[in-house]
């Protein structure tokens, strides 16, 4: 059997080079602010943030795999645990928890008590429909797609909307088997 990956991201987090948290938070804020100015519609900003996150996710997965030594997860349950315990810790410095599994193990919630993206943020009346952290759902979706899991991700709770935590619902749509990519007549 291949070696089992780490159960927490603490060791990896301690070893990577980091940037100042405030700089990171404010940079992200500036991006969202600029998108609001450029796109005007809050719905469009949500979409754009998700797309940006997706583009990050499809690259991030390789760094995650290279640094965490996770070789494979047996099922979606383990995958969710690894994202919450190792992934979020490694890249965001916080640990998330996994709850609310449905009966067939294809849908769960990742709950973030602490989220460095939203320090200093308050949603004004004009942006009530904004999912400020939508980039995170995009990242998770992109990263999972690279390991052949098609998922659908939505926000259930959002602290900026008055909830007590951030809750991401991750729903596994399908796993894509590996096919031989060339046609015979190519």
């Amino acid at each position: 059997m291949p070696p089992v990956g780490p159960r927490s991201g603490d060791a990896i987090f301690a070893n990577v080079e980091r940037v100042n948290a405030e700089l990171f938070t404010l940079t992200y804020g500036a991006i969202v602010r600029q998108l609001l100015t450029d796109l005007e519609e809050v719905e469009e900003v949500n979409k754009q943030l998700d797309q940006m996150g997706y583009n990050i996710g499809i690259r991030l997965i390789d760094e995650f795999l290279a640094k965490s030594n996770v070789s494979r997860c047996v099922d979606f349950k383990e995958t969710a645990e690894v994202i919450a315990k190792v992934g979020f810790k490694m890249f965001l410095g916080v640990t998330a928890s996994v709850t609310n599994w449905d009966a067939d193990g294809t849908c769960c919630s990742i709950v973030l008590e602490d989220n460095p993206l939203v320090d200093f943020v308050e949603l004004p009346d004009t942006c009530q429909g904004l999912y400020y952290c939508n980039i995170l759902s995009g990242v998770v979706r992109g990263a999972l797609e690279m390991v052949s899991m098609k998922t659908e991700i939505s926000w259930i709770r959002d602290m900026l909307r008055g909830d007590d935590a951030f809750e991401l619902q991750v729903k596994l749509l399908k796993q894509i088997p590996e096919e031989y990519p060339y046609k015979d007549d190519e």
Partner: protein, 169 residues
């Protein structure tokens, strides 16, 4: 609180023992069979054109992998040979050796396949391939101007790779 980023390449360099120059060539494929990188250091004989050569190599790995999984005596649930597998399903091989060369293979769950062909007397190169995967992350994936899924054109990556492969024993 501080977080994010990182440039440290881990695992650290596997120690090399004897003199280098054992590398023949290297391929990097993605899941869709696109050859992202082909490097050649010592290959006196070419029998196919490059595109055919890449396809042959990818096909060899693909078939060998499903064969090794099919022959696995330790697991019960096996699908028929040739039926597509989910990533991570079934076992896989990491190297084979002939009397003239040795091929070492690594596949990441994200579908990146790294193949290194070396002198038949080289030692276990699994750690080396992991290191090369880390180089790929640092020099290619983190390069904002690189478009994922396209052939790699990155001088810095090539130089670092050449230098590293030269040290493999």
């Amino acid at each position: 609180m501080q977080f994010f980023g990182g440039t440290e390449i881990s695992p650290s360099l596997p120690a090399s023992t004897a003199s280098g120059n054992n590398g023949h060539m290297m391929y990097v494929f993605n899941r869709n069979g696109v050859c992202l990188l082909y490097r050649e250091w010592n290959r006196p004989l070419h029998t196919l054109n490059q595109q055919q050569d890449h396809k042959l190599m990818f096909g060899l790995l693909f078939s060998l992998k499903s064969l090794t999984a099919k022959m696995d005596p330790t697991t019960q649930d096996k699908s028929n040979l040739g039926v597509p597998q989910l990533p991570g399903q079934g076992c896989s091989f990491h190297s084979f050796r002939t009397n003239t060369y040795k091929l070492t293979f690594m596949e990441s769950p994200s579908g990146i396949k790294i193949i290194l062909v070396t002198h038949p007397r080289t030692s276990d190169l699994r750690e080396s391939l992991k290191y090369i995967y880390n180089l790929y992350v640092e020099y290619v994936v983190k390069n904002p101007l690189y478009t994922p899924g396209t052939p790699i054109r990155c001088e810095l990556f090539n130089t670092t790779l050449d230098q590293y492969v030269r040290s493999i024993s």
